[in-house]
Symmetry: D3
Subunit: 206 residues, 6 copies
């Protein structure tokens, strides 16, 4: 279970509306490679992960991604909360506004609703960790794209923090993958799925 602590993992203090950029950043809330997708990917995968240490990494990072989702949500809300109807129409934010006012709803920048097809939980430790390495690279690229479009330091500062964390997560998943491969202790580590085949019971939960 989780306990809420009433603070952001990294502060967000935005003083100017920018509905166009809010809609772009929305992809890191509810887009294909956003923080909600990341959190649900890792928190779902941990059940079938047979190695306690790696399951712990998935829980930790999945929990941190919830905090990132909260940071991104704060950015989007601060970029849109004081808009006038004229600003909404002029910026093209009207297509989002009509259905959600200035409320937050998880979608990609292009309008695709958040959906579980955007991530996978495969029930195979090696495969799930490759999924996670790819996920962190995709999130990193999304932040790179945001940073190419936005130069306002009020926005860029928390975005840069989030981007750095993805690289740290990428490294932790890399270490987890090495650990899994060593436990399997075999050249062709595809011969068995320790999450299902129950052939290497001695290796698990160390």
């Amino acid at each position: 279970m989780w306990n809420y602590e009433k603070k952001l993992q990294y502060p967000v203090n935005i003083t100017k509306c920018n509905p166009q950029m809010a809609q772009v950043i929305m992809s890191q809330f509810g887009g294909p490679d956003g923080e909600l997708a990341a959190s649900m990917r890792y928190l779902s995968q941990r059940y079938a992960m047979p190695y306690r240490e790696v399951a712990g990494v998935l829980t930790d990072i999945g929990t941190e991604e919830l905090a990132h989702m909260e940071i991104v949500s704060a950015i989007i809300y601060q970029l849109t909360k004081d808009l006038s109807p004229e600003e909404i129409k002029k910026s093209g934010f009207d297509k989002y506004y009509v259905d959600h006012t200035t409320g937050l709803w998880p979608q990609a920048a292009g309008g695709i609703p958040f959906n579980a097809c955007e991530f996978q939980s495969k029930g195979d430790p090696v495969t799930d960790l490759f999924e996670d390495l790819a996920a962190e690279q995709k999130a990193r690229s999304t932040y790179d794209n945001i940073l190419r479009l936005i130069k306002d330091p009020e926005i860029c500062d928390p975005i840069k923090f989030l981007r750095e964390r993805e690289i740290v997560h990428f490294q932790r998943f890399g270490e987890s993958l090495r650990m899994v491969q060593e436990k399997l202790d075999c050249k062709n580590f595809y011969a068995v799925n320790p999450a299902f085949d129950k052939l290497c019971a001695c290796e698990m939960n160390k």
Copy 2:
């Protein structure tokens, strides 16, 4: 931000596989009225909620629904983790298994991937609270349906706990709605959306 506490809000100790019922219960993980939908609904809505007290209720319940998602996930995993290939085929679980082995992935019982169209965040306090009242009733009905299908006490016991919590949440959202309507202090409380119109600044954040 959230801190993870390594315990379930309510214990789950299931000793017998039941893949058919696991797939039915899956709707309370990733289905239209499941715990993930509930959590994301409330955690998304809180940004545009202009009354601090009600925003706090959304955060609290949204956080508790994460814990419920974890309970449901544990139920599903314990019902499927020791299946043999023969049991998988015989129970019809093979259609899920082929894509996720015994990993967890948020979908409805009928196979629909979790998606954000299953909940709404409208940016209007009265409307969002009616959405939430309906959501709690829908979750309650889903648990009712599960309890009509399953009699095994190992499964029913945590399901009954979860069902009771939905009713408590329903009551808290009812109180929140009364609070919002009193703050608006007007017969026709649809005349203004305090989340957007900024007409009742004095009423907010009390």
Copy 3:
């Protein structure tokens, strides 16, 4: 069955193109809280509604929402039918135009295709009526948002009519809910689902 009467429930006479606003209003045709969703929600729910009187309300309102869908469709078509290619490009309507010319196709303003995940039919009278109360509030908020963006009386006039009808429907669903709760005649009206449990046969179809 239905008989078509060749007139709109409320007249629509729009003399000026406005493709940007047409796309915003489109959410009340095929968006998450639009008229098509409303109609299909009520017309689907009526089968499992065990009280004849309430089933009649669902049929009536579901039929009226079809008429509203027709009004919204007429608004959208009149706002776009005489566009030149230059106007289409300049207004951003080109992304819709390329796939539908100036034909009508049910989608949300942000591009999401109409889909059944946007409404629920739960087979439980209390739950379905809360779903309906929420639906009417969500439709009302959408019309509020449209009215904040548009001031042209040719458009606002039918939109205001439609908004008023949602409030009337909300009240009728409120009365229906009270009737259902009285028929169940018990404090904890969640103890039984009269649509399924067949425990209160005497209460039904009065």
Copy 4:
């Protein structure tokens, strides 16, 4: 606008539950080639149809498909309304039941929610009529498939009526297509879209 007449276009009197076949028939309610899709396809297309007579055909058939949707809904409800929990589990209907009890919700037999991608409204008279000819053939094939699976006359009788109507609609759309091509009066009738190009004003609304 539409007026509801409290009778089915064709009677449905089913006396035996059959949840497996109910789920198969569900595709004609909310499936890709079902009655809801048909109705929405034709009622949407009529706005951009420049020939009054053909627009009238679209309204007529779109209205009749609503009546067909009602017949199919009645079949499904009568096939499932008196199920016991044991029958629900044994027949595999549990995956639908958990989210909708015995309420109706538009989905395909395989679980896909009804969605607007399943039909097209292209804003071009010739194209829309080919879409409609194809739609009627697809509906006809779906009914053929149902009739190969079901032999119970209580079910087959209304299904056969519905299948016959699709063939009648196919013929009416064929006549409409000929009428459109004659009005365009040119060998290469793709040279102009009378719904948009406004080049043949004299041809329209005859």
Copy 5:
């Protein structure tokens, strides 16, 4: 199986960026009536087509649509590959860019991800061929719409080639339909589905 030949079926040489039109043309890559949908429709349908000659037409045209997908992809990439961040923001391409940089990903102009609900494979020769006739008309109309919006000959030239090919395909599907109807050799060619009913074995694979 397929062999790749490193040349486009028709040359594409675009020298000026145009991100707005790139997004419109994207519908012919991954939109409801685009080349990917066309190719997958025909390559899927050919398995259940009982007449060898018509199955060959489906394979041929399905393969050619892959080549068309490649032409459309080249157009989109050449229209966007040298964009600056400022051009991306100004043109509204930022909502696509944030998730895909200038990579290609199959979606409609309005943002809908390519999905299989956009085409049908019905397992009935007459029905599938009507589906295909409609598909070619829909693709033709989409190209017509593009040609109304774009006048730059560098873009229009390959678009006109693609449009012409759709008309040729339409004619080939028309001939295929006549061939199927002749083989069935009966006035009411709906009485049997030769793909399933196996009643006319002598007719097949001629």
Copy 6:
């Protein structure tokens, strides 16, 4: 462009119907980690890949995955083509059959229509190659799951061939990733996206 060669990359000769397993194997046709997804992922990514050699690998493997899609299609069709209505009902294949007879349509085993959210094309060489490594692992795991459920050598033989090819592709993408990282020639290879930033022109197209 592609040329079709009328032979399968690996022979498929199945002599016994097995509709339950056909539906499971369907995930390798149109499921989240199936051959169609793989092909479209690689054929889409190649446009923004700045290194000619790696773009060639994407074209080669994307083309081979089309051939794999054809093998999987042949397996599914041979497993279902001679079914009787009774076998269809008994095996649960009826939910697919009603909408597609025995035609092929790309969906996952659990019924989810093929959709582009199931893969990503990010426009960043390092990221896209990690996406591809993960994709090959996910496909490999899916084949592993199929092989745990099916023992019939007629089916297993081509499935084993396909599984082996995924491992070969995984290795080729690993080599491609090393090549990209060497070309970038910098420890922190995330500092630049050569597909967009155009900073290392000299490195490209070698």
